[in-house]
Amino acid sequence: ACGNKEEEQGGGDGASKEEANIKVGLVTDTGGVDDKSFNQSAWEGLKKFGEEFGLTEGEGYRYLQSEKEADYIPNLGQFADGGFDVTFAAGFLLEDAVQTAAEQNTGTNFALIDSLLANADGETVWLDNVSNVTFDEHTGSFLVGVIAAKTTKTKKVGFVGGVDSPLIKKFENGFKAGVKSVDPTIEIVSQYAGDFNKPENGTSIASTMYTGGADIIYHAAGGTGNGVFTEAKNRKANGEEVWVIGVDRDQHEEGMPENVTLTSMVKRVDNAVYEISKMAKDGNFPGGKETVFGLKEEGVGIAPTTENVSQEALDLVEDYKQKILSGEIEVPKTDEEFEAFEASL
């Protein structure tokens, strides 16, 4: 039944379109497309694709924001029913929903960002109509770790995570590896806020870290990270020299007007969404496999705004980047890998 519907609708739309004959959708998690982070980035990629290929917003490309967990499946289904060719699911929280929706709507493609699919026993499963998009957050985090190590004056830096999960651990361990690679004597404090949406907790944690002597904090904590910015800006306004390293997007803006953003680890979800959409348009939808966006694919990296970073640090980043690309350095993702990495230094 689904297939039929899709054909009818797709055909009808196709007649009125001249450029690309494709419909792409995005289901966000509860964050929404202006969360200054992940969802926003995905939406920017989709918009770029849509505009480039002459799709109309709302028809050829559009998004649906999820209000709660139970909305994921119906929202994905909404796009499938609406004849969309590819529907992006923003974030690993949608993993189960994508699996269910993909099994129910075999005629439609889905792209799950940040996660693979797993069965009840935790084994990875592949579905032909699901493309799994992941990023090498650890390598990007390694590079901002290098910048942090070159910039710290107190020889102490901090990391604030949203929730303690394997994904955020990639950020943490990559960052720590980068710092330690430059200077093993630098002390690193880490703390997880337990929540992506508690700015006041971010503020308190940052306050504790700065008071405890850290002068740079790297956050991978979404809205909670905004609290880190708040604290840093307050301190900078009072004359302390402290920095924040942003995450996911170039967070230079968030540091203004006090200008506390040292750099940001950007994760080009927009690029990934754009690329996958294009592949789908060309009939090469990478279903049933994992597509990794790493340093090479410009899926991760440091932010374009570099005004607060010394040239020396930037040069060093370039060095390390090459070493990672060449495979000379293998950046750790998990705690165990980091321990081994640190021991090998």
Partner: protein, 352 residues
């Protein structure tokens, strides 16, 4: 007097109906003022609720936990207590059902009831604590239940992380044998997630009605709610009844959690914010006038509205928050039923 009694009954039905109409009217005005077309908007909303078997299935699915949350609130209300802790009781019930559904190996005929029972016990204990504190130390149940909500939120998250973690912020899934999901129901509704939970919810509603209206336990619970002194005078154990009321209310809420655990999700996510179902339960109980059958209808309405909200957004571009506004307005009008009474008596007077 007989006529007045009838009138009262009639009023109990007229007031919610009128409130729904008023809520929808004000919603239309809001749409108009903000430049949306109410006809398109409501058309999409209605379509999202009743448009096809799938949306009806989703509506009933969403209603199942809402019914139970509403019953939990309503039960406590009827016995003079305000259980604002349904949210927390639901969370612990959800976790308990997931744990039993995951860890035990039983035939489905036993596994499902045992998992639901586990949820009821967990929720019951979570409700009993504020009940006992109220009975024993006269601590305000509202404040304790609010606190217990947070404790439930953080401790369930921590327990999943520690003992049941399957990665990606979620717990291990429950076993097939504990699942309320049904391919029969799903097929019948064109692939909605409708599950057998609705049957459980209806059974619990009948149970609540029976307890409150037909048993000596209900007689005692309500008496204690109305007048503790007279209950004591009549030889009832006031402390026991307060604790019991909160326990039963909590158990209902726990079962609401099992709807999510065994039905919709089959696992539990590490949550950092409340589901909101518990608070919606207050609204449902009110619209249903704390009557078990009224609660079922109210939950269906709210369940339908919330599942249809994304559809309205998708098809008519009206922000789905409008649905929250409409729900709030409906509750508001029910609460302010004096207004409706006033309008109606005015009308009937002029009619004469």
């Amino acid at each position: 007097m007989q006529k007045l009694l009838k009138n009262q009954r009639l009023f109990n039905i007229v007031v919610p109906l009128f409130s729904i109409i008023l809520g929808i009217l004000v919603g239309a005005i809001i749409m108009l003022v903000s430049g949306y077309d109410p006809v398109t908007g409501y058309g999409a909303l209605f379509n999202g609720m009743f448009g096809n078997p799938k949306s009806i299935g989703e509506m009933i699915r969403a209603a199942s936990p809402l019914i139970l949350a509403g019953l939990a609130v309503g039960f406590a209300f009827k016995t003079g207590l305000f259980n604002i802790g349904v949210e927390g009781q639901l969370l612990v019930g959800w976790l308990a059902a997931v744990y039993v559904g995951y860890a035990l190996d039983l035939p489905a005929i036993i596994h499902v009831p045992v998992s639901i029972l586990a949820a009821a016990i967990a929720g019951g204990i979570w409700g009993m604590i504020p009940g006992l504190l109220k009975a024993r130390f006269k601590v305000h149940e509202v404040i304790v239940t609010i606190m217990m909500n947070y404790i439930a939120l953080y401790s369930t998250a921590d327990i999943i992380k520690r003992y049941l973690y399957a990665g990606n912020e979620k717990s291990f899934p429950i076993k097939e044998s504990a699942s309320l999901a049904s391919t029969f129901l799903a097929d019948m509704t064109n692939g909605s997630r409708l599950h057998w939970g609705i049957v459980v919810a209806v059974i619990v509603a009948v149970f609540m009605w029976f307890i409150l209206e037909k048993t000596t336990t209900g007689y005692e619970l309500k008496a204690v709610g109305y007048n503790q002194h007279a209950s004591m005078y009549a030889g009832m154990n006031v402390q026991k009844n307060i604790a019991l009321s909160m326990t039963i209310s909590g158990a209902f809420a726990g079962i609401a959690g099992s709807m999510e655990a065994l039905g919709t999700f089959q696992n539990m996510t590490v949550m950092s914010a409340f589901t909101g179902t518990g608070f919606d339960g207050i609204a449902v109980a009110l619209l249903g006038a704390n009557n078990p059958f009224g609660i079922i209808l109210a939950a269906l309405l709210f369940g339908g509205l919330t599942t249809a909200a994304p559809q309205m957004n998708f098809n008519a571009n009206v922000p789905q928050e409008l649905v929250d506004v409409i729900i709030a307005l409906i509750i508001f009008f029910v609460a302010a039923s004096y207004l409706i009474r006033y309008i109606l008596t005015r009308f009937s007077k002029e009619g004469k």
